[in-house]
């Protein structure tokens, strides 16, 4: 099968064209996923662009994005396929008058026509290029994970009445996890693993520059620096990339082009979502002149 990507560098460049700034690790893994035909498991704190990566890859390839949102209680009939039993009933009733024997009907009602495809099956049976996104896979129970294993390792779905449906073309698969629980070994083993953390300051600045059109270089720099400093504190929930972008937009709307301490304190509620976090940051940023140099890092 023809590969989708030329080289790691090419992946990075085309991702950049759809406004996703990838670093070495991200581009490298997208490239490997294509070459090795393996799904990618993306893990990391909320709001670091896990879902966005899948969307951007789809956009970059011009492929259709099929999304399976996971939740507690997700089952086969929502994830894989379901028989359209109402239609099956109708079929049986209309046949009643004729002289058709049961075997025929049975063959008939368990055919593709009566199959309702759900995201996973749809990704497998698609003719056009698709990217499959299995979002927040850590939300399903451990037992339900098993549903995914067959499709992830062999790109096929077994339906007892129909046999095994194999993929017409191997889709790129992304799974995301917020790490609320440990995923099973079996699932992890089948995937390439990518941990998406908060970006380096330079990269975050670039992201802000791309996503917030009217921002000045100077302000973006300041935003990225402040966010980096905030993330170093021990917070309940550190600001995510999306919150950084929101904050930058807020500042633009307020017409601020040089952040003062007061601006930062007043708009901190865009960045931080816990009262205790906001208090901590405000305290930290206004009293630091008295407590200068504690021992560096170490």
């Amino acid at each position: 099968m023809a590969h989708r990507f030329e080289s790691v560098e090419a992946v990075r460049k085309s991702l950049g064209e759809v406004e996703y700034l990838a670093d070495d690790g991200i581009a490298g893994i997208a490239y490997l996923a294509d070459r090795l035909d393996k799904p990618v498991l993306i893990e990391g704190p909320a709001g670091t662009g896990k879902t966005q990566l899948a969307k951007s890859v789809a956009e970059m390839l011009g492929a259709r994005l099929i999304r399976l949102q996971c939740y507690e209680g997700l089952d086969e009939s929502k994830a894989l396929y379901e028989w359209n039993y109402k239609k099956q009933l109708l079929r049986i009733q209309t046949e009643k008058t004729d002289d058709v024997d049961w075997d025929n009907i049975q063959d008939d009602i368990f055919s593709n026509e009566f199959l309702l495809t759900r995201p996973l099956l749809e990704a497998i049976s698609a003719d056009d290029p698709v990217v499959l996104l299995i979002d927040e896979v850590d939300r399903v129970e451990v037992e339900t994970e098993a549903l995914l294993l067959e499709i992830l390792s062999d790109y096929q779905v077994s339906i007892p009445e129909l046999g095994t449906l194999e993929a017409k073309q191997i889709p790129l698969v992304f799974l995301t996890s917020n790490n609320t629980r440990e995923l099973s070994e079996a699932l992890k083993r089948r995937c390439l693993f990518l941990h998406l953390d908060y970006p380096e300051m330079e990269r975050e600045k670039e992201i802000v520059l791309t996503k917030v059109p009217d921002i000045t270089e100077n302000l973006a720099d300041q935003v990225a620096r402040i966010v980096r400093s905030i993330r170093q504190l021990e917070l309940k929930k550190a600001p995510s990339v999306s919150e950084t972008i929101d904050w930058a937009r807020t500042l633009i709307l307020l017409g601020i082009d040089q952040i003062t301490e007061q601006d930062a304190v007043e708009t901190a509620n865009v960045l931080l979502k816990y009262r205790s976090d906001i208090e901590k940051v405000v305290k930290e940023f206004s009293t630091n002149s008295s407590a200068h140099f504690e021992a560096v890092g170490s």
């Binding site: 790691v8 070495d24 690790g25 490298g28 893994i29 490239y31 490997l32 070459r35 090795l36 035909d37 393996k38 990618v40 498991l41 893990e43 990391g44 507690e72 129970e141 390792s153 062999d154 790490n179 609320t180 629980r181 440990e182 070994e185 992890k188 083993r189 995937c191 390439l192 693993f193 990518l194 941990h195 300051m201 300041q222 620096r225 402040i226 980096r228 400093s229 170093q232 021990e234 309940k236 952040i259 003062t260 301490e261 930062a264 816990y274 009262r275 205790s276 901590k280 940023f285 206004s286 630091n288 002149s289 200068h292 140099f293 021992a295 560096v296 890092g297 170490s298």
Partner: protein, 494 residues
């Protein structure tokens, strides 16, 4: 790709690269990372698509296939640096390009330089320590990475005093180098400079940001120095021997009692996601664990749609009673860290309990439940426990007997059939009276009584440890030396 025979039939299967990966995987496994056969094969497949010369990509390719848990990343990275340190061009010991001093390579260093700081014959001639410091200062000021790297090399060469075959670890050399560089002083100087540049209108926010920036650069410098030391050690001893000395336990296996400061910081970072996971898991277990008793009314109501036949039995929601937890923790020096983590964990999942009460003691005993009430930030509360609780009675040496006496006198009545009592401590009683009868009384009254001991089992009942005497009256005595064991215990508790 599930074609597991791909590697075996590949002509390159015997190639040096394949052997290299093989050896690396063995190292990872020895370090405690679970690498399965399939992942090993994947890694071998992956590196066929990524040129080893592109070091960053190569590293990520290996990480993506071999490391499936972010907590293991650090271990992987260190091992990777060691194992592949001399493989790959730009990381060879003496790159031609970015070395402004034209220093000789490591072979020179084998004739040990004179005392550090004399500028010896090893290179960087004509550069006095002051000039070196000045250059470093400039590099940090501008954030000039290439210069910083070169200076890190120079500093290691000059100050670390590395001698081939000397059996000391990298931390010793690191310490020597850093002591000579005086990075704290450097930071102060940098800050003074930028304050001067900005004049009076430097707000405390700017100052703060500037300081963070410099700290970041200093951290990078430190990493460079560490990497350089590692490279030299590997050149001296070989990668395999070096990897052996670097084997550090994973965060979840770090011993509470002997954790270094860095490891402590890692533990603190690890505990938050851990509690979150635990809380989610426990909540799910509650909901799904078992069904409640038959709900007769609901069953009858549903039977109407089956023509009166109770075809679909309905059950009540399970409402298992939540236990009440009483924690009694020794917070004397040796076991303080352990008590801290356990308190943190118990309070983080306190929604799983109907009530949590905490007592801490050394030789006196104090209730600390008040510190946790209505507080968002558990870490802060734990910190207050350590600083504000009134736990010293006579001399500040653990006295379990007296502490239990005080507990029994004042709070004994509050232990009831719903309470689960956890005692945390190493039971090193400094040869005071044990008062083990109190344990017996508590066990009598409480639902369960558990003792968690952070010492390895082998040390129990040696010296002044009398855990056996107390343990005889407990429903269970557990060795809890690391996060993994702590998590396991709490999981079973609920």
């Amino acid at each position: 790709m599930t074609d597991t025979t791909g590697v075996a039939t590949d002509p390159g299967a015997d190639s040096p690269l394949f052997n290299l990966i093989e050896g690396f995987v063995v190292e990872l496994r020895t370090a405690g990372l679970p690498v399965s056969l399939v992942e090993n094969i994947d890694a071998a497949q992956a590196v066929r698509h990524i040129p080893i010369e592109d070091r960053a990509a190569f590293k990520y390719a290996l990480a993506a296939t071999l490391v499936k848990n972010n907590a293991h990343w650090k271990t992987f990275e260190t091992l990777f640096e060691v194992y592949f340190s001399l493989r790959g061009n730009e990381y060879a010991l003496d790159p031609d390009g970015d070395d402004p001093f034209g220093e000789g390579d490591f072979e020179d260093g084998e004739n040990p330089d004179g005392p550090p700081g004399q500028g010896g014959e090893g290179g960087g001639e004509g550069l006095s320590p002051e000039e070196l410091a000045e250059l470093l200062y400039q590099a940090l000021m501008k954030g000039d990475q290439a210069l910083m790297r070169a200076l890190a090399k120079q500093a290691v060469k000059r100050y670390a005093g590395m001698e081939p075959g000397r059996p000391v670890g990298g931390t010793y050399y690191l310490y020597r180098t850093l002591r000579n560089l005086d990075l704290d002083g450097m930071l102060e100087r940098l800050m003074d400079q930028s304050r001067e540049d900005a004049g009076d209108d430097m707000s405390s926010l700017d100052e703060r940001l500037q300081k963070d920036e410099y700290e970041h650069r200093l951290e990078e410098l430190r990493k460079e120095i560490e990497a350089e030391i590692r490279r030299r050690l590997v050149a001296d001893r070989g990668a395999e021997a070096m990897a052996k000395t670097l084997r550090k336990p994973l965060p979840e296996d770090v011993d509470f009692m002997h954790a270094s400061r860095d490891e402590m910081a890692n533990l603190r970072r690890a505990i938050y996601p851990l509690t979150r996971k635990l809380a989610v898991r426990l909540a799910r277990k509650r909901r799904h664990g078992r069904k409640g008793p038959l709900d007769f009314r609901n069953t009858v109501r549903h039977s109407l749609s089956y023509g009166g036949v109770p075809a679909e039995p309905k059950f009540r929601y399970p409402r298992p009673s939540k236990p009440e937890i009483i924690v009694i923790a020794d917070i004397s020096g040796s076991v303080a860290a352990f008590a801290r983590f356990t308190l943190h964990l118990v309070y983080a999942i306190s929604s799983q309990f109907s009530k949590v009460r905490a007592f801490v003691f050394i030789d006196g005993l104090d209730e600390v439940t008040r510190f946790f009430e209505g507080v968002d930030d558990i870490a802060e509360a734990v910190h207050r426990v350590n600083t504000e609780a009134d736990v010293v009675w006579v001399d500040g040496h653990s006295d379990y007997g007296h502490a239990f006496e005080v507990f029994w006198e004042n709070f004994g009545k509050e232990v009831g059939p719903k309470s689960t009592v956890l005692v945390l401590g190493d039971a090193r009683n400094n040869y005071h009276a044990s008062q083990a009868w109190i344990m017996k009384e508590i066990q009598h009254r409480a639902r369960k009584l558990f003792w968690l001991n952070p010492e390895p089992k082998a040390y129990w009942n040696t010296g002044d440890s009398i855990v056996g005497e107390y343990g005889a009256h407990c429903d269970g005595v557990f060795e809890v030396r690391n996060l993994r064991q702590l998590e396991g215990f709490v999981d079973n508790l609920v």
